[in-house]
């Protein structure tokens, strides 16, 4: 099934918008499973699904659904 990955900040450089907005995952996959597939998972600090922040401890139990919008934010540095 397809989900929409919404990457912010430096993570925007990791995937093209076309790939990110049509990201394919298996049925029943959890947020944590999906994140593990991303090579930049170590830099993801905050996750939200359809606008709701998902705590790190809840990522393993949250099952993604078709067309979910998953927003990923990196840690940032001021300047």
């Amino acid at each position: 099934m397809r989900i929409q990955l919404d990457l912010k900040g430096e993570l925007e450089d990791e995937l093209s918008e076309t790939i990110a907005s049509n990201f394919t995952v298996a049925e029943g996959v959890t947020l944590e499973d999906m994140l593990k597939k991303l090579p930049f998972v170590d830099r993801v600090v905050l996750t939200s699904v359809n606008g709701t922040v998902i705590a790190r401890s809840d990522r393993a139990s949250l099952v993604l659904n078709e067309s979910d919008k998953v927003t990923l934010l990196p840690a940032i540095k001021g300047g």
């Binding site: 430096e10 925007e12 450089d13 930049f40 600090v45 790190r56 540095k77 001021g78 300047g79």
Partner: protein, 614 residues
Amino acid sequence: MGWQQKVLRVDLNAGTCTTEPLNMEWAAQYIGTRGLATRYLMENMDPAVDALSPENVLIFATGPLGGTLTSTSGRYAVVTKGPLTGAIACSNSGGKFGAELKFSGYDLMIVTGKSERPVYLLIEDDEAKLINAEDLWGRTVWDTEETIKARHHSEDMKVASIGVAGERGVYYACIVNDLHRAAGRSGVGAVMGSKNLKAVAARGSRGIRVKDPLRFMKVVEEKNQKLVDDPGRRSLTKSGTLSMMNVMQEFGGLPTNNFRDVQFDGVAKVNHKAVREKRHGHRNLLTNKACFGCTIACGRIAHIDKNHFSVVNRKEYWHASGGLEYETAFAFGPVVGVDDLDALTFAGYMMNEHGMDPISFGVTLAAAMELYELGVITREQTDGIDLRFGNAEALTVMSEKTGKYEGFGRELALGSKRLCEKYGHPELAMVVKGQEFAGYDSRALQGMGLGYATGNRGACHLRHDTFAEDMEDVSGKGKAQPCKDSQDNVAAIDSVGICLFTASAWDLGDLADQMDAACEGTWTAERLREAGERIWNLERLFNMKAGLTAADDTLPPRMLKDPAPTGMAKGKVNELDVMLPEYYALREWSVDGVPTRALLQRLDLEAFALADSA
């Protein structure tokens, strides 16, 4: 080794330039730039003096790794008492001037007194002299730099100067070097202006000796590769700091309309994508640019659409110059509600040309806009300009008026605190210790709020790093420790003489490896950390001797009482009341924020103990 071991002392009262050996015992404890200059400042002035009096001391300082092969080694710091805050000011800049000062043979330059007439300082290796600058007084930074270079027939000369803003005492005037790099914060340019010192021009030919050249080169190569491979570095090269705009918008920490809001509707018009897009046949961003010895190159070079209202008949602004970074974009965009990219870029040009801190200017203009919308300030007072949020003309006109110290610009020159106090609404000034907030709302970023409140130079985002912790959890829980630890680490990084952006890839161990190969003694991460803690506490002691107290470690009522209206911290206020006592305890300070004698003994700071140190 590393250090040049020489200090240039400039006595503006007497008109003399003399040299003296660097105090190597202090260098061993305070490293360089920020730390070492603070130690010299404590020795050379009474912190209680008026910041704009001749008794204030102005120090330009480089670090032991400055000018070496280490990446980003072009940094220098200006350390003095800040007129904006009445606290210690330490303002750090890139470009090429810092390395040139070191190539001239000096670690520090200490400026005392006040010249009877405007002068500039010319440094050419061992020769340093003061030259009449009456013909330069009243001229812009850009004009001054060009004129001095032409006068001395040297395009290679590096110049740091002030514009009219510094001459006229704009409280947040800065010192600009290499046309568009700046020692930007706390009003260090106003101190320079108060001394009738228009510019410092340096041309050096000396190398920098390191302890173990072969080991140093090997270590530098290894660390540079680590920086090359770092994704944070890659992002800074590609997008600069501007990519943070979307992150803060999503998170709900993007200060908008003088911090009333935390998300900005016009964000897509001023973010890192907008500067790359062609609009009306014009693309704002031209290229990126690196400072001396830098392998990151986060700097942006941009140009303004020739048809934009701000420059349509002004060819002098059609050239490429310094472009938008996150802080300038926030300060000319969301916080004043403006989404006109060319207007933002023009305001940036004004900051560089006339020598002003964009953060303080933008947040001061935002406060004035709120006062205007409340009816406290009227159109008659603003030279006929409609000062409502979102008006791009208000931004461009006022940035120029303030830089030239004209009309309502003289009111904006006061900074937010003095402006809002003057008009009877001190609560609208988004400041700590008189210095304006950077582009992060401290209801969404709780640790940022603690860092602002305890910042030795007032509100500042570059004195600590709690971003990761803040974004993991929007409460104040667990923020005091990373705030304290990162404050100490940043003090060490600054004092080595390199750019804070290396911290994306390098920890103190990486710095210690390079220090140990370049400098006398044995350098470890722990030694650097302890030096950082010593520096932080010495800055604190300077401030307390200047008259600041724990009452100054606070945030404006908007952050403490008005809940964030939207975003991921919706409904939250900053939990400073919880974080601050925990922070004081971790710092080994009393409940009144005074460093204890036991701490001062551990850090070899007993000589600076306050009368009420427990």
